[in-house]
């Protein structure tokens, strides 16, 4: 029996975010919220381990009340239990404060059932920092295994895990002790399709809600804005380039002519590009 805690985050679907043309803020209206896609690889891997060894998967997230939908979706894939850690005091948290809150919550979960593994996604699509996973590992004294491309083996008696970790130019094969924290690399597996019975079960489940007290947090100076060493001082739109592209146009509009015109213009204005091409094309 193995108990895995999977940390997920509900994020706005960044592909659909637009910038307010006048005030330069994010227009979040109507942008659908999704489970951070990288977290799905973590969830799928946890479910595979559960399928293999038998076990229990708890999904947890720190977020606003609507993050419950993300947890419910995770349940529909087959997770067993879901906890929403939500509290006004968490607002404005950066990664340090977030890892503090999640680590506290996981300690509380431990009291109910010992935790063998914590899974996280590689990073989020809205923050992109990849810092919360390592932060949680540090605080809970878990061995940290990041950019994991595959789980080679898990031994619950010996409390050992062997993984493959993506590194520059190759793969490290690492062995370490449980409990540990794993961040999964994208593409390491393919998410399963939720079955109807699981979807129905998820629709019926009341997701547990923990405020900071239930999450075991006493020191509020460590959470939310207060507990965040980094602060966003400015948000702005990238300044538009003042010079737009020179569009190549010829009388005939024939491709050959346009290509020849382009080369002539470019090589005249940028001789170093021609030099580079002569080197690499040779």
């Amino acid at each position: 029996m193995i108990h895995i805690v999977v940390c997920i985050k509900q994020v706005p679907d960044s592909a659909q975010i637009r910038v307010h043309p006048v005030t330069n803020t994010i227009m979040r209206q109507g942008v659908p919220a999704i489970i951070n896609p990288y977290d799905l690889y973590a969830l799928e891997e946890a479910l595979r381990i559960k399928d293999k060894f038998g076990g229990f998967v708890t999904v947890i997230t720190m977020g606003p009340p609507q993050a419950e939908n993300a947890l419910r979706k995770a349940l529909s894939f087959g997770a067993d239990d879901a906890i929403l850690v939500t509290d006004r005091a968490f607002a404005g948290a950066d990664t340090l404060a977030t890892s503090f809150a999640l680590a506290s919550a996981i300690r509380q979960i431990e009291k109910g059932m010992p935790v063998d593994l914590v899974f996280c996604g590689k990073q989020t699509i809205d923050g992109d920092t990849a810092q919360v996973g390592p932060g949680i590992a540090k605080r809970l004294n878990l061995e940290l295994l990041t950019y994991i491309s595959s789980i080679v083996s898990v031994n619950t008696e010996k409390k050992e895990i062997v993984v493959q970790r993506r590194s520059e130019g190759g793969v490290q094969v690492l062995k370490t002790r449980l409990p540990s924290l794993v961040t999964m690399l994208e593409g390491s597996n393919e998410m399963r399709f939720a079955t109807m019975p699981n979807m129905i079960r998820a629709a019926r489940t009341t997701v547990k809600r923990w405020d900071r007290v239930a999450a075991g947090i006493e020191d509020i100076s460590k959470i939310g804005l207060k507990g965040s060493p980094t602060v966003v001082s400015k948000v702005f739109a990238p300044s538009p380039k003042t010079v737009k592209a020179e569009i190549i146009q010829t009388n005939s509009g024939e491709a050959d002519e346009m290509a020849a015109t382009l080369l002539m213009k470019m090589f005249t204005k940028f001789p170093h590009v021609r030099e580079q091409l002569e080197k690499s094309a040779a």
Binding site: H20, G30, P32, F193, A194, M196, M199, I200, A203
Partner: protein, 431 residues
């Protein structure tokens, strides 16, 4: 496998109305939506008619995401570069509770769906119902595209929209006739709130609706529309699918042309496009209505062609048919009766009693009249515009001569017999 009192296919306005009503009455309901979230596959202008929703969720105004309540309606008949129009603006519309609102479909459906879940229905998204499960001639459940995805219920309510493949598959619905649907495209253009309010002469929360007809549809049968939302404008145009097929005009280009019309362009100037969508709208009215109930099944909303094209009302009919279908099921359940075709005929009776069938019957000939009489979209808009122009231009010609000219232009275009004929046709159709 688990059995429910009802399965609702689709989480648009009609499906939500049905599922909510059923769940509130304590029945076990499961609702299947193929989109990622309710509303993701739905497109609408969009106007919310309070009356229909009040009968389902009386306190909706407290929570539902509403854009602006409508205080002014403009009706424009457009020529190529002019229009003649009427306005109705009333302070009565500015007194709560408001009668009509503009809404953004995606957010509204999400809210409505949350209410459905809260009422106790199971809402399952990202799942497509692939088939009805039959026992002889009777529908006993649905098959979905998920593993272990067969579900059973006493009744299946089909709320899956204008192009319901399910109804077609089951043979309840013939193949959709391009002459019975319109293809509508719309854009949502972002405009800062203050600009919008000063341009349309409204205050915060107040909204304007502009309905348009005329040369903007390039001779095709159709209409255009413009709605004001809180911080954006919805602008769109829709024409009969059969007309698009015939003229091979691109709906997108049609919209672009319309946006460039000298009367319309200034209304949308500075708008940044936020969203572009297209959808089919039932237009056939009563004559295109399929069978709407049978052994173990019922049809609500667009799937049943419940749209009043003349007044451009669709979502209120959708919600009303959803509610009435649900009430039918509730009453049968309470009486311990089976969901057989004879028993479900109560649904039709309820519809007949309501504005739904009454309006559809009233306007049943309109689609046909418009189909056969394109002059209402081309000649007449031209004529009335030119007439207005003639009368309003002060150029030394005496008024009597002008009037004679106008009259001649009409009779030249349509002949006296034609004019009388047109008037008669309209009168008959509208009666």
């Amino acid at each position: 496998m688990e059995k429910f009192d009802a399965i609702v296919v689709g989480a648009g306005p009609s499906g939500n109305a049905a599922a909510y009503t059923l769940a509130k009455a304590g029945l076990s309901v499961i609702q299947i939506e193929r989109g990622e979230y309710p509303g993701s596959k739905n497109v609408q202008g969009a106007i919310l008619y309070s009356d229909a929703l009040e009968k389902i969720i009386p306190e909706f105004r407290d929570e539902a995401p509403l854009e602006r309540h409508i205080i002014e309606q403009r009706m424009w008949v457009l020529d190529d570069d002019s229009y003649i129009g009427t306005n109705y603006r009333s302070d009565a519309f500015n007194k709560a509770p408001y009668n009509r609102y503009t809404i953004l479909r995606a957010q509204f459906d999400k809210w409505f769906s949350e209410k459905v879940s809260q009422a106790g229905a199971l809402v399952i998204c990202e799942t497509t119902v692939t088939d009805l499960i039959m026992d002889g001639n009777r529908v006993v459940g649905v098959r979905t595209d998920r593993e272990n995805g067969d579900l059973f219920a006493d009744v299946v309510i089909l709320a899956d929209g204008v192009n319901s493949l399910l109804a077609k598959k089951a043979g309840f619905h013939p193949e959709l006739n391009p002459g019975d649907v319109a293809l509508a495209v719309k854009e949502i253009l972002f405009l800062p709130q203050e600009t919008l309010e000063s341009r349309f002469n409204v205050k915060e929360g107040e909204g304007v609706v502009i309905e348009m007809i005329g040369k903007i549809t390039q001779g095709m049968m159709g209409t255009g529309f413009l709605y004001t939302n809180n911080e954006s404008i919805t602008i769109g145009v829709g024409c009969m699918l059969s007309d698009f097929k015939e003229t091979r005009m691109s709906p997108y280009l049609l919209l672009e042309k319309m946006k460039a019309h000298p009367a319309i362009a200034p209304m949308i100037e500075g708008g940044e496009m936020k969203e572009y969508t297209a959808h089919l709208i039932p237009e056939g009215g009563l004559k295109a209505m399929p069978q709407i109930y049978g052994d173990g099944w019922m049809i609500v909303g667009d799937s049943g062609m419940f749209v009043n094209a003349v007044h451009r009302e669709g979502s209120n009919l959708a919600m009303t048919t959803g509610r009435l279908a649900a009430e039918t099921v509730i009453s049968l359940k309470a009486a311990g009766k089976e969901m057989t075709s004879p028993n479900l005929s109560v649904y039709r009776a309820k519809l007949d009693d309501s504005f739904v069938m009454k309006d559809l019957i009233k306007y049943k000939d309109m689609p046909g009249v418009f189909h056969a009489n394109r002059q209402f979209f081309t000649t007449y808009p031209e004529l009335v515009n030119k007439a207005a122009h003639t009368m309003l231009t002060v150029d030394g010609v005496d008024k009597k001569t002008k009037e004679r000219e106008i009259f001649k232009s009409f009779t030249r275009s349509r002949s006296l017999a034609g004019l009388v004929g047109d008037a008669y046709k309209m009168w008959r159709a509208l009666r």
